[in-house]
């Protein structure tokens, strides 16, 4: 009769000791027994909810680590970074709880004797609980996602516009206000210059295949596509030189398609952008040159 009932159950009962064997006449002792257990588990689980909500807030008071990501050198990138921190903490909490449950189950319930454990298959309370709680978490993550997304994708009016054209395998930066052009391929990586602490609009396009415009420290990338004009804004917070690279596979020399972004003071930018660039090769000439002589020749 008790073949499938695990003897360990009785040990984990909060009170009352072992299951009385004399209640065979009662309709269903496992029923009562099960209810007690399920209430207990959901009480425990309910205690975890405030913990899960509080943990990010408490942690936010301390110095929240970067979890490996860049802090974001633009205001948009910094917003994305804060969202990343939030997601990572949520991930640690949720993943940690699940991992702990997995490891607990695996190590606690190792087979110690032959016999059949209690054949529990359904606990509706727990099932509803682990469906609803993730829905609530997802709703929260979605709200923060939309807020950050609107900040990152906002295109306020800006004084400086740069038209970026990606090609196999290099970049051209064109400043329509003065006609200034910077162009370079592979090993002669071109440098985009822009003013610090100012909204800068980038118009991004491709001359051939799809490329990826990616500046890691800006926490941002966007495809450069033929026939699609992508527009976005940067507001670089600190002067400095930032590495950039193509992220979308674009053919043979994809690995070498690098560039950099130099953020300078607005005064220096003004001086720079008014200097004439001299005679520069066109994109077509550069492409022909790479195809004929290889990269950086």
């Amino acid at each position: 009769m008790d073949v499938w009932r695990d003897a360990r159950h009785t040990r984990s009962l909060p009170a009352g000791g072992p299951q009385p064997p004399a209640d065979a006449g009662r309709p269903s002792p496992p029923n009562r027994f099960g209810l007690v257990r399920s209430k207990l588990s959901s009480v425990r689980a309910r205690r975890l909810v405030p913990l899960a909500i509080l943990a990010p807030i408490v942690l936010a008071g301390c110095q929240v680590p970067d979890f490996g990501a860049y802090k974001g050198s633009t205001s948009q990138g910094h917003d994305a970074y804060k969202l990343w921190q939030g997601f990572f903490i949520a991930g640690i909490v949720v993943g940690g709880v699940v991992l702990a449950l997995i490891l607990w189950a695996v190590f606690r319930y190792g087979r110690r004797r032959d016999g059949v454990p209690r054949q529990t298959q359904y606990r509706h309370g727990i099932e509803i609980f682990y469906t609803v709680v993730p829905l609530v978490i997802v709703a929260g993550l979605f709200v923060f996602t939309v807020i950050t997304e609107n900040e990152v994708d906002a295109i306020p009016k800006s004084q400086v516009t740069i038209d970026v054209t990606a090609f196999q395998w290099g970049w051209q930066f064109y400043y329509p206000s003065t006609g200034k052009v910077v162009v370079g391929e592979t090993l002669q990586a071109p440098q985009m210059v822009l003013p610090v602490n100012e909204a800068v609009t980038i118009n991004l396009e491709s001359a051939d295949v799809i490329h990826g415009f990616y500046v890691p420290e800006f926490n941002f990338s966007r495809y450069a596509q033929p026939g699609v004009l992508n527009r976005f804004n940067f507001n670089v917070l600190h002067t400095g030189v930032y590495r950039g690279q193509c992220t979308q596979l674009c053919g043979l020399y994809h690995s070498l398609m690098i560039f950099s972004v130099k953020a300078v003071s607005p005064g220096n930018f003004d001086t720079w952008v008014h200097q004439t660039s001299g005679r520069l090769p066109t994109i077509g000439q550069l492409k022909a040159q790479i195809h004929a002589n290889g990269p950086g020749a």
Binding site: M1, Q225, Q245
Partner: protein
Amino acid sequence: MTDVITPPLGGTGILGPPVVEVAEYYGHEEHGPTGLLRWLTSTDHKVIGKSYLITSVILMLIGGLFALVIRLQLASPNSSLVSFAQYNELFTMHGTLMIFLFVGPFAFGGLANYIVPLQVGAPDMAFPRLNALSYWLYLTGSMTMMMGFLVAGGAASFGWVGYAPLSNATNSPGLGGDLWIMALILTGFSAIFTGVNLVGTIFYLRAPGLTMFRMPIFTWNMLVTAILILIAFPVLTAALVMLFCDRHFGTHIYSVQGGGSPVLWQNLFWFFGHPEVYILALPFFGIVTEIIPVFSRKPVFGYKGMVFATLSIAALSTGVWAHHMFTTGVVLLPFFSLLSLLISVPTGIKFFNWIGTMWRGQIHYSTAMLMAIGFLITFLFGGITGVMLASPPIDFFTHDTYFVVAHFHSVVMALVMAAMAGIYYWYPKMTGRMLREDLGKVQFWLLFVGTQVCFMPQYLVGLHGMPRRIAQYTTVPSWQTLNDVSTVGAFIIGASFLVLVINAFQSWRKPVLAGDNPWDAHTLEWFTTSPPPHHNYSHLPPIRSERPTWDYHHPDAPALHPHGEAHPSDGAEKVLGSS
């Protein structure tokens, strides 16, 4: 159930005889060629299933070798082990082999082919000849794909996603790209036919008593996978035909010059590609859901909830494709973000089902179970990082970096562990022989540790800004340390597969007989002999739950329902009354 194919079974009532004979109806003498000719001509689902398994594992080993070369190339910042062109071919073919020719065919071509008819108590698949055609399309497709390495210009080198316009005739001339397209059309039809076959088998060939909600979760997941195949693969096939037209017949479907749209390719590819992710994953969820209950000696916790979770994953998976396109700037971010985040809910439910199944079980740490636990943990990492990627602002700075590479490798390596779990679990059924448990545990630890050592550093190097699909990183030598650790991990993974090969070799040279039911398992396939006879069953047990074999061997231990009582139809009233 149709009258034509239902075997004349008696004893379907509760008080009927415990075992019903079906042998007179089908017979299990196979009359036909033997030896190699049998493998070449058979329409037996078990032979075809094994052909699929062997072919796909060989292709996995080849794809794995490509990965090792890739990792060696990346072990130093400006290695010239392979050229840029060769590197592009290697990662393209690595991805293509693993996704299209290993993970999917292994699961729905191999395991499903072998196991599903057994689990539903059928003598074969619904359309045995179509099944054979599926395999031969798959084999010819795979060979077509591999031929890319033999032609001038080399194999396809535009990535496994084949983005237009890089994949057009101007940017990727040469036969390699055409062979890639043709191979995927062939294997695509193979998958579609297998999908039709699985749906037919599961809907029409179930044994009496085997209602939909008594199907094992593996069979459920294969059904849902088959439906997803029928939704997704025709789209890919059509997209590939259009790509071929662009390359050769002067159409401009994906080219801006002729008024076409490169983004169209991405939409079509990912409309296939995201359901495809679940076409790959669901069968392996199914494998794990077979193994965890058996080695915990408990029924699946929340069986029906799990079925609905699988159905919701499938439904949601058709509406999340554009999360691969967040950085294109031309998709509605909140919609695809929300649906992608939502898919974590049913996936989370599955995690709790698996944990609940182990909870208060009596877990036997067999190799299959260890692999399943390895799957849980590795898939958890992939799942958590997947939720991060579902948020567009986070995707913006991780897209196309090693963070994404690490994310989906956590996922697919979890699937590989589930595949290994499936091999260790069903190998005795397929061959009648056991695999060695000690070697199996060595393989598990190598595979599990190797996976984490290989892919954890890739998350970090991705956050540091390393893009995927680059052959050199001369300008940022600081990425080398993390890459070196990753390379070491890749070789540990490689070693784990050597152990598998040795183990299979051992079982061939020094066989240890398995018997019909070595694991005290739950589902129908363990009721017949190992390996099963030609038409699978000489007799069937009564089917009263999703665990007919368990019920037969443990009549006193039926599954307990919500409030602890046994299910009325389990015939367990007397057990309940006496407890």
